[in-house]
Point group: C2
Chain length 361, copies 2
């Protein structure tokens, strides 16, 4: 099966490190809406919006943006990727998810995340030593409430409530919810335990490092007797330029991306002072065939995605295209190339009977 | 000044008491969106969406609906009327309000409500004896967070958070927030204390009963030295038919509305077993010139609204048009008549220099 190919944004408002230009909040919102509409117009399958808080964000509530997107798109899937469950009320999240599923004709899903940023945990007062427990309880409760009929919420981290019920969406909770993983045994086993798809969120390192987690996930699902629900997705930063943009398009893309990607891909959006900066050579290694980042001319990107799809068995690929103050036109170019060139070539490569693609270089 | 005239919905999914027909959740969402688009197309000023929870609702998150509406309308104001602050995190509400203000070009505001339904208080575990205190603290915190710059949240009913900041909307918090009142001295004095507009939510009784509250509100504002921010709004159920629909259009409108309005205007949406049912005569008294409900032919409705506007000094009128399973076409007819006939006649009556309108009958 062809994987879903799409884009994602974290909605951060960051200055362009080259020019110092900082978009306004409404300017960034306009950008985000335009990225999504462009993604649909060029035939991509999905758009994801992450969650973040603070003054330099326009994604405090991913569902609010996805609801707006549900009216200006018709076909593309909409994903809250990720929605931070640790800091939220599972009833509110289930309500938003159900309502938006109805509003969008069933196009929406959610990637349940634990939340990585300490300042967001502080904003909603999540004690760090209880983060895993809170997340697990809330994920259980979210899935309970999303099942048809009334549920009782009787956990430790939320006041009890009985007979909680939502308008019926007609959708299986496992179709509505994925589990986020930044690559830990616990997170992939948790996804398997719930029969959920797992969305790997990767910002650096060699993609081969993900193989043990994917293997553990699939084995755990088999161990639970679940042979049907395995779904693996990957979210990763990306920048694509035309093959004819330079003599060495891969090198040109790496040089174009470096000032942006080196300053903020590992933090949540804008760079933080503790964030190590990659030299150009270090960054190039992240973009090489062995690295996780999807940066290059169209041909290299097709090859990288074909390998990732094959080796990790991906059902969904979300490419984060508006990294850390990157000019909007450059992000739009990536979206256009993904839909107009990468997607058709990727589907062609994946015709039944063909050999699996090989690693480049 | 002419008041804003608009419609509101509570998004409840109720069976038509005459036919037993129950709309689907997605059918009701389609209705709500169509009511709002129609309101804009006929020139009304505002559309409000209330908040409610449970399986027979599509308004669990008013902001989610308003966000969708921000894309399918261009000019009409959008109000979360009311958003239940007692059961919500003020940071989340402030985030949604700010984000939606940016998304809608500043068209959005919120009516902060305490929430009337015990089952919703149970769902989010609000102890009834603390309801007023919780609401007051959250209203303070909401207004704090909406002011430019970072805020510290240090109350009793939410974990403390420091340096909370939102993307700048460029709007005064008092432009973004109204205070709901179902007619109590405490609620109008609270609104005055914060310099907020007060939105009176009325479902029965004589409108004259509201006069002392409006007077107390205005006097309190003057007492606080605030001469500029008085704003009084009224939300009330309504049904309008054409003047030529019957020999006695008022009587015809009352008879048309009775099966729907008598079963659920006083509860939040769908009727509850404890809800007393009005006989036709009792209901007609609610719709008479002395009653609060806005039911009749165009002429009677113009007259009632002119009186209410004048006597209460209204800046905003929100008419709840889709009561308790009322057929969608009947609600749409009300919206069309409000925009095409009632609004122009009301504005004409209100030309400077004219006498204030008199009570009918």
């Amino acid at each position: 099966m062809n994987p879903q190919l799409g884009i994602m944004t974290w909605g951060d408002i960051a200055p362009d490190p080259l020019t110092g230009q900082l978009p306004s909040p409404s300017g960034r919102l306009t950008h985000v809406l335009e990225l999504a509409r462009t993604a649909e117009s060029v035939g991509l399958d999905i758009v994801g919006v992450g969650e973040g808080h603070g003054a330099h964000r326009v994604n405090q509530d991913p569902f609010l943006l996805l609801s707006a997107l549900s009216r200006v798109t018709e076909r593309i899937r909409l994903s809250a990727a990720a929605s931070v469950l640790t800091t939220a009320d599972p009833v509110r999240i289930a309500e938003q998810l159900s309502l938006l599923s109805l509003l969008s004709n069933g196009r929406v899903d959610l990637v349940a995340g634990r939340g990585a940023l300490p300042q967001d945990q502080d904003l909603f007062a999540v004690p760090s030593h209880l983060r895993e427990e809170i997340f697990e309880e809330r994920l259980d409760q979210l899935l309970d409430v999303l099942r048809p009929g009334p549920s009782d919420l009787l956990g430790d981290f939320r006041d009890h409530a009985r007979d909680v019920e939502l308008p019926a969406t007609g959708r299986d909770p496992r179709d509505l919810v994925w589990a986020a993983s930044s690559g830990s045994p616990r997170s992939v086993l948790r996804a398997a335990g719930h029969g959920l798809g797992v969305m790997l969120n990767v910002m650096e390192g060699e993609w081969r490092n993900l193989l043990p987690y994917v293997k553990a996930y699939r084995e755990a699902l088999r161990g639970f007797g679940d042979r049907t629900s395995a779904r693996v997705g990957l979210a990763v930063p990306a920048l694509v330029i035309p093959d004819d943009a330079a003599a060495d398009p891969w090198r040109a893309a790496v040089e174009l991306a470096h000032p942006y990607f080196s300053a903020g891909t590992r933090t949540y959006g804008a760079a933080s002072p503790e964030d190590p900066t990659w030299t150009l050579d270090e960054f190039a290694a992240q973009c090489a065939p062995t690295g996780s980042l999807v940066v290059g001319g169209v041909s290299e990107v097709v090859e990288k995605l074909a390998v990732l799809r094959h080796e990790l068995g991906l059902e969904r690929i979300l490419l984060r295209v508006d990294i850390n103050g990157l000019p909007h036109d450059t992000a739009i170019q990536t979206v256009r190339l993904l839909g107009e060139q990468v997607l058709p070539q990727l589907r062609e490569q994946h015709m039944p009977g063909e050999d699996p693609p090989r690693l480049h270089g």
